[in-house]
Every structure is written in structure tokens, then in C-alpha cells.
């Protein structure tokens, strides 16, 4: 398991700052937006295609029979389509810069290929195929994705991950994968290429961040069906209204019916739908997560069960001494001194933590715990350090007057030559609480004496308990995976607040657990980095591979975390949910808007034939023409106004389904009912000033 420092709690809300739309961004996106006006591009969004067809029709009508109303409606219908394509173009533009810098990595280089016979030849990097072995020395760029099969090297991966500190890549083990385009800083390695030209990791990254090969996700397709149905309904409403209005003696022009149609079909969500999808992927990319499929991002929002490795995800990588427990007839000072002395030789994090703990006890409470060290302790003269060995299972010091040892209970008791009931009880107590007991003993003149127990504890990452609370609130069950025994696992699970745990877990157990959950219809997410994680990563609905992991792991998962931070799974789930919520909120908003538009347009259409309908002109719009134009303009402008929201996603706070629904209904449902009344009225005040309307 890879150990990483806790990332400074990757916060979902900082992403919102990236949703601001600048004029420069718009200008940059304009050419792309214009290109997307091609009807073939619009086939995927029937709503916008209908608007474009309407725009063409009003253009023809306005040319044949020019009028101020006609040209106003025509211009704004075209703008409606354009705003939609602009939204998509802006969303794509956000990935363009990143794609450009990634492309720079792909410049053709020459590679040193080792033939099976052992000769080395220079070949262009683009001619490398899966299975080729290349040699890469310090200062050279790795020509393609692959696995280190010989040697160890430090590699600069900043071009891909953005992390400037070099990382170690070595053959064997879980850190063998290298990415094409990264640079070797020291030593030489032999790499077996694992991707064909054009299908490398960087290639996939480029297409992902550009959104060029974006496949629409299942839910997006389902929503598109609903939007298309609504479009068809309103087309039928408007087409049939023509003869019906004529029969009623209120003949309508095609132009006005087209204006009504465009206002009624769900253009807001239709225009922003693909931008929402692209922006969702982009949000992941900004967190340094690469989703290999949009389907996985969507699945992330549906996750029911989250499998998390204990070490590095739930707890800090190392254990820390948290407590000293005396046995009978030993003073606190005696035990503290012995613990300190025994650990001076111990350069492991655990050993250092004992020193820190004793320092804390001396300095007073509040300074204990991880990372407070720094004071140098002099090793007394004439001291021999005794290193830990697997056979003695103890470490310690030999002082001139005595010997001190600390280690596993059984080993130390054997060294002392006798046991102690109270001590056994203390050892038990520590084990039960999820800790590891280290027994401390001394020996003067061949007479051994047990002093007490150091409580070594897995330290749960700060803030992780709150994250699990959030997960529980949104209905996700967290399961801790650990190699510890059940007693220890249970204690840590309780402290961290996970719902369940899998103790003494083997990779096979993990896979079996995932299968079992999936059989019950639940979706499972997990992360992993080792080759033995690969089957489970492939089986999980969302499998996040650590970038530091093996090639096998990265290929098995459907996401790669460049930061190799397992905690990020939780962020991924939230981004998945946010993506769906944004779609739902804008759909609701779009449909709710129709009510006000009816109140604007219908009285305007029929008030001439039926003056009594003026009662329904609740907004008191100045004239029928102005009312129609105001509704059309509002309809177009609301798209622009919502582009930032589509790009950054609606605010998401983890809470129960009912609470989320209530909040979003209030904001986007009720808000969607009321907003256009205000907006159309304000626009009418301006538009009524236009002569001829």
C-alpha cells in the first residue's frame, strides 16, 4: 500500500472559483461555437436542432416579409442556438490549455530499443510496440507507457501529475509503472512498453481533457429522451395551434408560433446538457483524476459501498506511541526513561514516536502525538545500541549498568524470564483497543524486571471521521479493508467511524466482497495500486488506480488518480452526484420557466381576438409584440446566465436524499417558476422602447 500524506482535505467548494466566465474565455470559444452551428453537430441535441430549424424558418420569413418583430425574433433565435454551442465550446476550452501542454510531451523522440539478442538500436519513439524493451538513462524522456523491468530510477512526472517532487520507479513491486513523456532524473532503467503508439496514457488524457471523444453517459442519454419527448409535445402543441387558432378567429403568424415553440421547448437544459457533462469530467481532471469513461463518473454518484484500505486512507501510514502503562512497583519516571532509552536506537517512525511521547510527558500535556519531535537526545556514553531483529523481536540499548529492551510481549517475557499478571492484563487491554503493545523491560546484573507497556496506536487521519459522517448522510456504506486481526480492526473501525470492516483481508477476499455486494444490486467503489488489486479494481463499478501503482492496476481500474491519494474516492463520489444534480436542477428550472412564458406569450397572441384575455397579462407587458420578444430574449439570455452554473455544477452539500430534493426543488423548481416573471418584465421595460414593437 502506498503511503501518502493526507492531502489538505480536497475541498469540493474551491472548484466553484473556476466557474467564472471571463470575456476572454468567451472570445476564445466563439470560433468553436460557430463551427458547432452545423446541423449535423446538433443532431445529438434535438432540442437545439429544433431551435435552429426555427431560426432558419424565421430568417426566410423575415426576408420575404420584413418586420421589426420578425427580425428581432430571428436574431434572438439564432443567438439562442449560438449560446448553446458557446456553452459547449467554453466547457471544452477549459481543457484545451492542459491538452496543449500534454501534446508537447508527445514530440517524437528517439528511443534506445534493446533487441532480444541484447543489441541496442536507436528507433523513433512512434515505432515502439507493446512488448518492446527500451533503455532510458538520466536526462532522457521515457518514450512510452510501460513497466520497469530492470533497475531503479528517480523520475520527474510533473508534466503529467503537476507534482514537482521526483518519484522512485523500480522493477518489481507496486511502483513499477512509468508514463510516456516523463523524464528520468537519475540512474538507468529498462522499460517494457505496454501501449501502442497513439493509445498511450497521455493520448487518453488529451482526448479526455479536450472532451473530443466524449461519449454521452447513460443517464445523459435517458435525459435526452425525456427532453426530446417534451420537444415533440410542444412541436405538436404549436403546429396544432395553427388551425385551432384560425378556427377561433385568432389567426396566428408562423413567426409567432415559432417564437412560442422555442420558448416552450426545454432549451435551457438542452443548450447546457453537453457542457455539464464536459465540465463534470473537467472537474475530475482538475482534481488530478482521470476517468477513463464518463459512465464511471456517473456510476460514482450511485455508489452504495466504498471499500477503503485502512493504511494510508483511514489511518496515517505509521503507528504512534500514545500511552505508557506501568506495571506494579514501577514509577512513571522509571518507565518513561526506559522507553526513551530503548528507542534512541530505533529510527523507525514508531521508535521516534516513543521519543516524542516521552518528550510530551516531560513538557506537559498537549504536545504529545505525531510529528512534535525535534529535540535531540544525547545517547549516554558507553552505550551499545541493539538493533531490532526478526529473531529476537526486540530492540534496545545496553548501558554500562543495565540493559533495556522493548518488543513483542512474548519475546520480552522470555528475555526477562518471568511473567506478570498485571502486565498481561495491560497487554490484553491495548490489543483489544486496536493498538499494538510493546513491552519494556530492564535487566540489572542478570536480574530481569518488567516495567510496563507502550501503547502503539494506528492514528486515524484527522477529518476522516467527518467525511464518513457525510458518506453516511448520503447513504454510502464505508467498509475498511485491513490485514489486521479482527480485534484490532474492529477497534479502528469504531474509532474511524466506518460502517463495516474486512479483517485479515487477502486480495481474494476483497474480490469476493465486491462480488457479494454487487450481487445484492449495490455499486461498489474502491481504490488500489498493486497488481494483486487488479482483479478487484476491474470488478468494482468504480475502480480508482493510484498513479504510483502498477500497469496492471492502472489498466484494470476505470479511473486513475495522479496524486495517488486514496481519500479522493470520496471527492469522486461527490463530483458524480454533483453532475447528476446539475442536470436535474437545470431540467426542472427549464420546465418551470414555461409557466411564465405562457403568461407572457399566450395573452399577447390572442388578446386582439379576445380582449378579455388581457386579465391574464399579469406582468402588464406593454404590447403583444414586446411581450413575445421579451420572452424569446429571456429564453436566450437565461442560457448565458446559467453557463457558469453548468460549468461549476450546483452547490452540493452531503445530506439525505429528501433534504437535497427539498432544497433543489425550492431553488430550481420554485425559483424557475418565479424568475422568468421578473426577467421578462424587466426585459419588456427595455424592449418596449424599441420603435416598431
Amino acid at each position: 500500500m502506498t503511503v501518502t500524506e493526507p492531502s489538505p482535505a480536497a475541498e469540493p467548494r474551491t472548484a466553484s472559483s473556476s466557474g467564472v466566465l471571463t470575456p476572454a474565455q468567451l472570445a476564445e470559444a466563439l470560433p468553436g461555437a460557430l463551427r458547432k452551428l452545423d446541423p449535423r453537430e446538433l443532431l445529438a441535441t434535438p432540442v437545439m436542432l429544433v431551435v435552429e430549424v426555427g431560426a432558419v424558418a424565421t430568417t426566410v420569413l423575415s426576408v420575404l416579409d420584413p418586420s421589426v418583430l420578425g427580425w428581432f425574433v430571428t436574431v434572438w433565435l439564432w443567438l439562442t442556438v449560438l449560446f448553446g454551442t458557446l456553452a459547449e465550446s467554453v466547457a471544452e476550452g477549459r481543457g484545451k490549455a492542459q491538452a496543449a501542454s500534454l501534446r508537447a510531451l508527445q514530440t517524437e523522440t528517439s528511443a534506445r530499443r534493446r533487441t532480444p539478442s541484447g543489441e541496442v538500436e536507436d528507433v523513433p519513439s512512434t515505432s515502439l510496440h507493446v512488448g518492446d524493451v527500451v533503455l532510458v538513462a538520466a536526462g532522457e524522456r521515457i518514450p512510452g507507457d510501460g513497466e520497469v523491468i530492470e533497475g531503479v530510477a528517480s523520475v520527474d512526472e510533473s508534466a503529467v501529475t503537476g507534482e514537482s517532487a521526483p518519484v522512485i520507479r523500480e522493477s518489481g513491486g507496486d511502483r513499477s509503472a512509468v508514463t510516456g513523456g516523463t523524464t528520468v532524473l537519475s540512474d538507468e532503467i529498462a522499460v517494457r512498453i505496454s501501449s501502442e503508439p497513439g493509445q498511450s496514457f497521455v493520448d487518453r488524457m488529451i482526448s479526455l481533457v479536450e472532451g473530443s471523444e466524449r461519449q454521452r453517459t447513460p443517464n445523459e442519454l435517458a435525459l435526452n429522451v425525456l427532453l426530446s419527448a417534451l420537444t415533440v409535445v410542444f412541436v405538436v402543441v404549436c403546429v396544432t395551434l395553427w388551425p385551432v387558432a384560425s378556427y377561433s378567429g385568432a389567426r396566428q403568424s408562423v413567426l409567432v408560433l415559432l417564437a412560442l415553440l422555442v420558448c416552450l421547448i426545454p432549451t435551457t437544459i438542452g443548450a447546457l446538457l453537453s457542457a455539464i457533462g464536459i465540465a463534470g469530467m473537467d472537474r475530475l481532471v482538475r482534481r488530478n483524476v482521470l476517468a477513463m469513461s464518463g459512465r464511471a463518473v456517473e456510476a460514482a454518484g450511485d455508489i452504495d459501498v466504498l471499500l477503503l484500505d485502512k493504511t494510508g486512507t483511514i489511518t496515517l501510514g505509521n503507528r504512534y506511541a500514545t500511552e505508557l502503562l506501568r506495571t506494579d512497583g514501577v514509577t512513571e519516571e522509571e518507565l518513561a526513561e526506559a522507553a526513551l532509552l530503548s528507542s534512541l536506537a530505533d529510527e523507525t517512525p514508531e521508535g521516534r514516536s516513543v521519543v516524542d511521547l516521552v518528550d510530551g510527558l516531560v513538557d506537559g500535556p498537549g504536545t504529545t502525538g505525531a510529528g512534535s519531535g525535534g529535540r535531540r537526545h544525547e545517547v549516554p556514553r558507553g552505550t551499545t545500541l541493539v538493533e531490532f531483529s526478526a529473531t529476537t523481536r526486540m530492540s534496545g540499548v545496553d548501558l554500562p549498568d543495565r540493559e533495556i529492551r522493548k518488543g513483542a510481549a512474548s519475546a520480552v517475557k522470555e528475555w526477562v524470564g518471568h511473567g506478570d499478571d498485571l502486565l498481561d492484563e495491560l497487554v490484553d487491554q491495548v490489543s483489544r483497543s486496536g493498538g499494538t503493545p510493546l513491552v519494556v523491560a530492564e535487566s540489572r546484573d542478570g536480574r530481569g524486571r518488567l516495567l510496563g507497556v507502550i501503547h502503539l496506536k494506528d492514528v486515524v487521519k484527522p477529518g476522516i471521521t467527518e467525511r464518513f459522517e457525510e458518506m453516511r448522510a448520503i447513504g454510502i456504506r464505508t467498509v475498511m479493508i485491513t490485514g489486521d486481526n479482527a480485534v484490532t480492526a474492529q477497534a479502528i473501525a469504531k474509532e474511524a467511524g466506518v460502517d463495516d470492516f474486512l479483517a485479515e483481508a487477502t486480495p481474494e477476499d476483497k474480490l469476493a466482497l465486491i462480488r457479494q455486494e454487487q450481487e445484492g444490486g449495490r455499486l461498489v467503489a474502491m481504490c488500489g495500486d498493486g497488481t494483486n488489486d487488479a482483479p478487484a479494481l476491474a470488478q468494482a463499478d468504480v475502480g480508482v488506480a493510484m498513479n504510483t501503482g502498477t500497469v496492471a492496476a492502472k489498466e484494470a481500474g476505470n479511473m486513475v488518480d495522479l496524486d495517488s491519494d486514496p481519500t479522493k474516492l470520496i471527492d469522486i463520489v461527490e463530483i458524480g452526484k454533483q453532475l447528476l444534480i446539475t442536470r436535474g436542477a437545470l431540467t426542472t428550472f427549464s420546465v418551470a420557466n414555461d409557466v411564465a412564458k405562457y403568461f407572457a406569450i399566450l395573452p399577447a397572441m390572442f388578446v386582439v381576438a379576445f380582449p378579455q384575455l388581457d386579465v391574464l397579462n399579469v406582468m402588464r407587458l406593454s404590447s403583444p409584440e414586446s411581450a413575445i420578444v421579451s420572452a424569446v430574449v429571456f429564453n436566450a439570455l437565461v442560457i448565458v446566465a446559467l453557463i457558469p452554473l453548468a460549468l461549476r455544477g450546483v452547490t452540493y452539500r452531503p445530506s439525505s436524499a429528501a433534504a437535497l430534493l427539498r432544497r433543489n426543488l425550492l431553488v430550481y423548481g420554485v425559483g424557475g417558476l418565479l424568475a422568468p416573471f421578473v426577467g421578462i418584465k424587466l426585459l419588456d421595460l427595455v424592449i418596449s422602447l424599441v420603435p416598431g414593437l
Binding site: L221, L223, V233, V237, G301, I476, R583, L613, V615, S656
Partner: protein, 554 residues
């Protein structure tokens, strides 16, 4: 406002009767559609029909069975109508015209019971009893069977798309539910004064010295199933306004009760079949809210609504029976249009514009408040899927209803369902106003005339069957148009619903967690109500505006 108390009183009585009996019938229905046992008489029916009652059908087979069975019904009714002059008990009536026979055949098979003819002046006893009354039972049975299949589809999982056996459902519905209740209801109706005989016309001398022809017949028996099966086709032309069909306020109350009984009980049965009664109550609550709104609006419009004539007269009594009054007429109108029944005890054409518009809107809702027997349930459940889809997105999960994921394919079927009736209705009215033959039958000019046509196509496309009046619909144009609307308005949704049931039955069930949106809470009830109103409202606002709205504002 001395009428307010009785108005509330009859509503209270109706609610009380329903509250007491709906749960009982719901339990009986649930056993009917999930039980293993066959009754002896049912076994006999299966032998005659040559079906294996325990063989579950794939949804396609189920749908083909429904269509095949209904096609036979249409052909049989058409033949009976066209050959009436050769049939016994014809009371001397001749053959129906081709377009009329087509219309009537479709009308009764689709549970619409639109009647272009006057029952007492066109049909003999044999056609009424062996044709229409039989269809009153089986067309209701078809709707209930389809709804049961849909409920089972939601309850089942991973079974490849089998939703039950249509013939078993149909036979059980008729034998265990409709026949027994209709029998009891008919007896009570006779006790309340509804006629029941097989004699022909009786000529009476009136007080003024003239003569009057009184047509008798098996009225009570037809009346019972007419209401119970939300059919609505009356023995007499004026339907439940006729004193022989509906003699007193008490019989009026009983008829309204019979109309509402099965639609609400189906909802309860649905909750039991899917294993969570609360799901049924939630859907029932939405229906109750919508029906309550329709009742309130219609009652207000008729008792205190705008209109100079009613205000001068002290009440909108035109076209209403004195023995019922405004409140009972308004309530009956709301009940009959909320349920796709189409029986009337007053002439909707003579309602105030607002009242007429309200009952039209009740039909436009898609007959879901509480809708026809069976069709009301599946119509509402389809809307529930739409609601779940929107709500699911808003809570950040791919939407699911009762543990079934709603993906593109399901959404396609749901979208097609939601599209069908509005398209039929709007195209229907557009066709009607575009040909001279359409407006030719209209009695009034202006918006009211438009309303008369709008009501007819609304009634046909939604399989309601009630008539506004004022429109002479017995013409080849209207008979053909309305026949097409009724046929498509019934069977296109049925096939879509069965396809959806099949997909749900084949899908695996996703267990509910705390991230799942609960579909039995008030919030969901409110949202489903809102979706029903907005989705429907947005579609029909323009046509309603040009009819009842313009009229009521003038």
C-alpha cells in the same frame, strides 16, 4: 349558501364509504393477482379458452393476448351492430350504419363507452346485454389486468420479462371481483328504484291526456357494471340523469361510490403487490389531491361561479336534475371525468364555462385522478417514473423507482406513453376544426362551440366517454375520428406499459439505501402532483385558453 352543508355531507358520506371498503377490496385484489389457487369455475373457463393458467407470459405475449382478445371483441360488437335486424330481442331496431357500428365497437372495447346513439332508440336487448354489457365487464378486466401486470413487473426481478398470464388475470378479475360486486350493486340499485326487466316499450297515458312511451330493460344490471368498471355507457341516452338509471340522491351516491371503488382499491392492491403498502397510499394520495381539487373547482364553479345567467337565476341549474341539485351534479361530474367513466347525471355542456373547463381538464390529466379501473393506476405510475427521474437527478443518483433503475430504454417507453394522448388529442382537435364536417355538428358558435369539439376529442383520446352535449357526433366524420382516437388512446399506452412492465420484471432490484429517494413521503406526493399538473397543464393550456378560459372570462 344553505346548499353548502349537504354538499359537504355527500362528500363526507362518499369518503366514509370508500375509507371503509377500499382497503378490504385492495387486499382481495392483491390476492386475486398473486394467488396460486384457481376456482372451479375459473378452471372451466381456462378449459374453454384452452389456456394454461399457470404459464407466465413474456410481456410481448401478454400484449399480443390483450390485443388479440380486444380485436375479437371489436369484430364481435361490429357484427352485432351491423346484423341487429336479424337478431332476436332487437325491439325492432335496424342495423347500425358502418361508421356507427365501428365507433360503438371500439368505444365499448376500449372502456370508453362514448355513445353517438341514443341507447333506448337504437339498440335492442341482445346487443345491449350480450355485446355492450359483456364488454363492460371484460374491457374493465383488460385495464385491471394490465395494471396488475405492471405492478407485478415492478415487484418481480431478474425473470427475463415475464409479467403474468393475461387470461388468468382477466378471468379472475371478472369472476372474483367484477361479477360479485356488480351483482350486489345491481340488487341494491333495484331496491333504490332502478328498473330491471326485459319488457319492451310501455305506453302510458299522461295526465294531460297524451301518451308517452317508457322504455324498460335490464337497466340496473347494466348500471352496476357501468359504474363499477368505469365504463359509463348508459342504457338511456341521458345516462345517469335518467330517473330509471338514477332515481334518487341515494342511488346517485351509490353510483359515485361504485365509480371510485375499484380505481382506489387498485392502488391499494399495487402497494401490496410490490410489498410496500405505503407506496400504494402515496400514489393514492396524489389521486385524492387531484380529485379533491377537481371536485372543489367544479363545485365552486357550479354553485358560485361567474356567469350572468346563473347569477340571475340564483344558481347554474340549466341542464341539471332538480333531484340532485348543483352540488351533487358537480361532484358527479368531477368523479366521472376524474375516472374515465363518462357516466353523467347532468349535461356538462350546460355547466358554467369554468365548470366545463375543469371537468375537461380532469380528463386531460390523463385519467389519473383516480382514473379508470387499471388505467388510472398505470397512468399514474408512468408519471411517477417521470417524477422519480427528475427527483432522482436532483438528489444525485441515477433514478430508480421501487428499486428499478430508469435508464434510456425505460425513459423511451415512458416518454412515448406521455406523448401518446396529448398528440392524439391535439391532432384530433386540429383535424376536427380543419374540415367542414367537424364544426358542422356544433350547436353553438364561438369559444363554446370550440369547447364542444374539444370535449369530444378529449373524452375519446382519454377513453372517458362522457359527452359535453351540443355536438351532433353521429356523423361519419366524428364516428370515424373519435373511433380512431379511442382505439389508439387505449391500446398504444397499454402496449407501452406492458413493455415497461417487461423491462422492469427483467431488471434486477437495487436495494434502497438512505441515499435513495423515498417515494412514499409527502414531498414525493407533492412533487408527483406538481409533475402531473405542470406536464399536462403545459400541453393543454393553449387549447383550454381558446375554449373554456376565453368563454369564462367574457
Amino acid at each position: 349558501m344553505s346548499e353548502v352543508l349537504p354538499a359537504l355531507g355527500q362528500i363526507a358520506a362518499l369518503v366514509l364509504l370508500l375509507v371503509l371498503t377500499v382497503p378490504l377490496l385492495a387486499r382481495h385484489l392483491a390476492t386475486t393477482y398473486t394467488g396460486e389457487r384457481h376456482l372451479a369455475v375459473e378452471r372451466l373457463a381456462y378449459r374453454v379458452l384452452r389456456v394454461a393458467p399457470d404459464a407466465d407470459q413474456h410481456w410481448r405475449t401478454y400484449a399480443l393476448s390483450v390485443l388479440g382478445f380486444s380485436l375479437v371483441g371489436v369484430l364481435a360488437l361490429y357484427a352485432l351492430g351491423r346484423l341487429q335486424q336479424f337478431l332476436p330481442l332487437s325491439l325492432g331496431f335496424g342495423a347500425l350504419p358502418a361508421d356507427g357500428a365501428w365507433n360503438t365497437a371500439v368505444s365499448f372495447v376500449t372502456n370508453t363507452n362514448w355513445q353517438w346513439y341514443s341507447g333506448e332508440a337504437a339498440l335492442g336487448h341482445l346487443v345491449q346485454a350480450s355485446g355492450l354489457t359483456v364488454q363492460n365487464f371484460v374491457s374493465a378486466g383488460v385495464g385491471m389486468s394490465v395494471a396488475a401486470a405492471f405492478a407485478r413487473g415492478l415487484a418481480l426481478a431478474d425473470n427475463g420479462g415475464r409479467v403474468g398470464n393475461f387470461f388468468t388475470d382477466l378471468v379472475r378479475t371478472v369472476v372474483r371481483v367484477l361479477l360479485p360486486i356488480a351483482l350486489v350493486a345491481a340488487v341494491v340499485l333495484v331496491l333504490l328504484g332502478v328498473v330491471q326487466n326485459l319488457s319492451g316499450d310501455r305506453v302510458m297515458d299522461t295526465l294531460t291526456g297524451g301518451t308517452q312511451v317508457l322504455t324498460g330493460g335490464p337497466v340496473a344490471s347494466q348500471e352496476a357494471i357501468k359504474e363499477l368498471g368505469t365504463n359509463g355507457g348508459g342504457f338511456y341516452n341521458v345516462n345517469s340523469a335518467h330517473p330509471f338509471e338514477n332515481p334518487s340522491p341515494l342511488s346517485n351516491l351509490l353510483e359515485m361510490y361504485l365509480i371510485l371503488l375499484v380505481p382506489f382499491a387498485m392502488v391499494g392492491a399495487f402497494g401490496r403487490i410490490v410489498g410496500d403498502k405505503r407506496q400504494g397510499w402515496a400514489v393514492g394520495a396524489v389521486m385524492t389531491v387531484l380529485l379533491g381539487a377537481v371536485v372543489a373547482a367544479t363545485t365552486w364553479a357550479e354553485m358560485a361561479g361567474p356567469g350572468s345567467a346563473p347569477q340571475l337565476a340564483g344558481g347554474a341549474m340549466e341542464g341539471k336534475e332538480v333531484r340532485f341539485g348543483e352540488a351533487a351534479s358537480a361532484l358527479f361530474a368531477a368523479v366521472t371525468t376524474g375516472t374515465s367513466t363518462g357516466a353523467v347525471n347532468a349535461m356538462h355542456d350546460s355547466f358554467t364555462a369554468a365548470g366545463g373547463g375543469t371537468v375537461m381538464f380532469a380528463m386531460m390529466l390523463g385519467e389519473i385522478a383516480p382514473g379508470g379501473v387499471g388505467s388510472g393506476l398505470y397512468g399514474m405510475l408512468v408519471l411517477a417514473v417521470v417524477t422519480v427521474f427528475l427527483a432522482g437527478l436532483m438528489v444525485g443518483r441515477t433514478p430508480e423507482y421501487l428499486g428499478k433503475k430508469i435508464s434510456q430504454r425505460e425513459m423511451g417507453l415512458v416518454a412515448a406513453y406521455v406523448l401518446t394522448t396529448p398528440v392524439l388529442l391535439l391532432v384530433g382537435i386540429a383535424v376536427a376544426v380543419s374540415f367542414d364536417a367537424g364544426p358542422a355538428g356544433v350547436l353553438n358558435s364561438g369559444p363554446h362551440g370550440f369547447s364542444e369539439m374539444l370535449y369530444a376529442v378529449t373524452s375519446a383520446a382519454n377513453n372517458n366517454g362522457s359527452a359535453f352535449g351540443g355536438l351532433t357526433s353521429g356523423t361519419p366524420f366524428w364516428n370515424t375520428l373519435l373511433g380512431v382516437l379511442m382505439l389508439l388512446g387505449r391500446f398504444v399506452p397499454i402496449v407501452l406499459v406492458l413493455a415497461l412492465a417487461g423491462r422492469f420484471a427483467a431488471a434486477r432490484r437495487v436495494p434502497a439505501g438512505s441515499g435513495t429517494l423515498p417515494t412514499h413521503r409527502p414531498l414525493f406526493v407533492a412533487l408527483l402532483t406538481g409533475v402531473a399538473l405542470v406536464l399536462v397543464g403545459l400541453t393543454y393550456v393553449p387549447v383550454l385558453l381558446l375554449g373554456p378560459v376565453v368563454e369564462s372570462l367574457s
